[in-house]
């Protein structure tokens, strides 16, 4: 079981300082040069004739290449964990089998609502009213499998709290796994799909596994409307 938000943080907390550091180095160098080499400081001085610095520049390029290697390594390390669990390109079915999910959700995206069907139970979740988010109940701290398809255009299932999204297609089923912390998590459509794109929302409600089972049983008993 891999928590996608933890993997995100593992990369973010390295990338952001490197980016900030690189920015500061360039900014400070620029400001220093603008101050130190401004014309008014010493109008009589001649500007330098040096047009190249091979040793410095080659060393610098080596440093850049080393940085790229590190960034790619760091990214691949975390991406392999995420993709191995969620299922990257073409990995979805293998991921489902390997992860032995606690629940499998068939997602149907249609302009402009999300419909969630709990496989094997006959329970379906729909929004309570137009423009309301669909409530998606899941067991917390467990593997949830998603198999998603669109009935019309491209959509995208994004839950910012778990730092993960995946496009949903009309021409094939897209599969992935996620783990949710207990609590409520906002979800939304993150691929422009037309007029009511901004109200195509989800609320993921992650309950402790025992309470989730209770909820599912009650829904089954009551029938499959939300």
């Amino acid at each position: 079981m891999v928590r996608t938000d933890e993997q995100f943080r593992g990369v973010w907390e390295v990338y952001l300082p490197i980016a900030a550091g690189a920015f500061l180095i360039v900014l400070l160098t620029l400001l220093f040069f603008l101050w130190r080499y401004r014309q008014r400081r010493d109008p009589a001085r001649s500007p330098s004739d040096t047009v190249q610095g091979h040793v410095v520049e080659v060393s610098y390029v080596a440093l850049l290449v080393a940085t790229v290697c590190f960034l790619v390594f760091w990214t691949f390390l975390h991406e392999n964990r995420i993709d191995g669990f969620t299922g990257g390109a073409t990995g979805g079915e293998r991921a489902e089998a390997a992860a032995a999910p606690a629940v499998s959700i068939d997602v149907v995206a249609a302009r402009w609502t999300w419909r969630f069907e709990y496989r094997g139970t006959g329970v379906t979740q729909l929004p309570g009213a137009p423009d309301e988010p669909t409530e998606l109940y899941v067991p917390a701290d467990s593997t949830v499998h998603f198999a998603a398809r669109s009935q019309d255009v491209l959509h995208d299932f994004w839950v910012p709290d778990v730092r993960f999204q995946r496009q949903v297609w009309p021409d094939h089923v897209e599969r992935w796994n996620l783990v949710f912390d207990e609590g409520r998590h906002q979800g939304l459509c993150a691929w422009f799909c037309g007029l009511r794109h901004q109200t195509m929302r989800v609320v993921v409600i992650a309950l402790p596994p025992g309470r989730f089972e209770d909820w599912l049983r009650r829904r089954q008993a009551r029938g499959s409307r939300a």
Binding site: P47, V51, Q52, Y60, L71, T75, E79, G88, Q165, Q198
Partner: protein, 534 residues
């Protein structure tokens, strides 16, 4: 050999000259004027969008209108402003910088202008149709853009507008490439071409290589809308994204390279040094261009349909040529004698602001990060930092720098500095908060956001910034008007330049150079001549 040309008395207007001049300088000036016109139009669309987003709730426009607004804002800025003005600078300057009397294929250059303007007008005519302008984003993504989901002629007009404008750009790319390869003056080997001309060569290589894919994609989309059967079946929808991004990633570098070149020229001139690291910079620009054709899948990390690792690798590798360029730009300032003119300030602004866009680009090139940030306002901030805080500042650097060459008079330097500082404040107020709200979960292309998300204050700040940007552009317009009215003659070389365009009058005569050229022994021939005479 050039055929005989009719010399019109200066300042006298003639319809045939206006419609059919094959003087590359006039074609370029008209393209620049049209681009600025589209900049203003696209900017007004942005102001309406920002007014709507300032607070939660729909106060100004309907969602239907908003969707057309952001589609046309993006389409106008990319297809009708930034790309043509980038290429137009090359149309004007490359023949001069390489010492040619004329651009290669002058009628082709004129045809490019006609296609570009026709494409722009056709795209905008969508607003006059019943269904309104295209509203399927600037990408025109299938299946949203197909006949079921985007019925109406507004979408078709958008498709033809985009196709025609880009056809024009392909023609310009051919002309500029042919000029650099075949019309250099004696003594100017390829490795003595100025930096700006090299960035234009790299730009046009990308244009010629990848822009035809866009034209093909648009034609296919049009056929799909008419007859169906193209983007269908398994993987039908993802084909659109492959075709489009194969074009659109090199496209964003086409909108960047000419301005890096312009800034490099201003750095050399205003630091009074030959450009530093030429022998590293030129290959790095070509490497950058080559790599740009291998990274398109980073726009598709969340599709689950591409090899994320391959595209993450190639995209992150761009750090190498980009880093080399920054090193050489800074190296040109090192031990220089820096003059803080308006064009130089815009160049320095470009350097530091584009970097924010570039570094955040490295961030979203990492799939684990992009799985969260894709299609959020973080990405909107990233590309506005590269395209606006970067390229647009580089554009102003180039405009202020070469304005005297194009027109014969100088823009006011003091007003230019006022323009610069207001633009800096407006730019950061508008685009920096977008990194924050995007990371918190605000997706893009939404006319409204939840009131309880806590994004109202930041969005309001962004809107204030947008109006400051508008004010800065207004200052620029005032500068242009005042400078036109009460002219300060510039003479051939107002900035003490280093390259051949400054070795002729301002503006240049019809065949560019009246007298003999200076001897060409390096990439800064005028600098060499002045040093020799000193």
């Amino acid at each position: 050999m050039s055929t005989s040309t009719v010399a019109l008395p200066a300042g006298r207007f003639a319809w045939i000259e206006f419609l059919a001049s094959t003087d590359h300088k006039r074609v370029a000036r008209r393209a620049i004027a049209a681009s600025i016109g589209f900049l203003l139009a696209g900017g007004i669309l942005a102001l309406v969008m920002r007014t709507e987003l300032a607070q939660p709730g729909m106060q100004v426009v309907s969602t239907q209108s908003y969707n057309a607004l952001f589609t046309m804002h993006g389409s106008t800025m990319i297809y009708l402003f930034m790309t043509p003005i980038a290429l137009a600078l090359g149309l004007y300057l490359v023949p001069l910088q390489v010492g040619a009397a004329e651009i290669a294929l002058p009628r082709t250059a004129l045809a490019g202008l006609v296609f570009y303007i026709a494409g722009g007008l056709i795209m905008w005519s969508g607003f006059l149709t019943n269904g309104g302008a295209g509203r399927a984003t600037w990408i025109g993504v299938d299946p949203l853009s197909d006949s079921i989901n985007s019925p109406g002629s507004g979408m078709d007009l958008w498709i033809w507008g985009v196709a025609l404008a880009n056809l024009g750009f392909i023609l310009w790319g051919i002309c500029i490439l042919a000029t650099a390869l075949r019309k250099r003056a004696p003594g100017m080997t390829l490795l003595r071409m100025p930096i700006f001309s090299w960035t234009m060569v790299a730009t046009c290589l990308m244009v010629v290589f990848s822009f035809p894919v866009l034209v093909v994609a648009m034609v296919l989309l049009w056929f799909d809308r008419r007859l169906g059967g193209i983007f269908v079946g398994n993987d039908g929808a993802v084909v659109w994204q492959h075709l489009f991004w194969f074009y659109a990633h090199p496209l964003v570098y086409v909108m960047f390279f000419p301005f890096v070149g312009a800034v490099a020229e201003t750095f050399s001139t205003f630091s009074r040094r030959r450009f530093f690291g030429y022998n590293f910079f030129v290959p790095s620009v070509l490497l950058f261009a080559a790599l740009s054709t291998s990274v398109w899948g980073h726009h598709m990390f969340t599709t689950g349909q591409v090899s994320n690792q391959f595209f993450a690798l190639t995209s992150t590798a761009i750090v190498v040529p980009a880093g080399i360029e920054y090193f050489d730009l800074l190296g040109t300032l090192w031990r220089g004698k820096i003059r803080f003119t308006a064009p130089f300030l815009f160049g320095a602004g470009f350097l530091i602001q584009f970097l924010v866009g570039g570094l955040t680009g490295v961030i979203v090139a990492s799939p684990p990060l992009d799985y969260h940030l894709n299609n959020s306002y973080f990405v909107v901030a990233h590309f506005h930092y590269t395209l606006f805080a970067g390229s647009a500042f580089g554009m102003f650097a180039g405009l202020y720098y070469w304005w005297p060459k194009f027109t014969g008079y100088l823009l006011r330097d003091g007003l230019g500095k006022v323009h610069f500082w207001i633009l800096v404040v407006g730019t950061h107020l508008t685009f920096f908060p977008m990194f924050i709200v995007g990371q918190e979960g605000m997706t893009r292309r939404i006319a409204d956001y939840p009131a309880d998300a806590g994004w109202g204050t930041l969005n309001l700040i962004e809107t204030v910034g947008a109006f400051l940007i508008a004010l800065a552009v207004l200052v620029f317009a005032v500068n242009v008007l005042i400078s036109r009215r009460r002219r300060i003659p510039a003479g051939p070389d107002p900035w003490d330049g280093q390259t051949l365009e400054w070795a002729t009058s301002s503006p240049p005569p019809r065949d560019n150079f009246d007298g003999p050229l200076p001897p060409i022994r390096s990439y800064a021939p005028l600098y060499d001549l002045k040093e020799q005479n000193a």
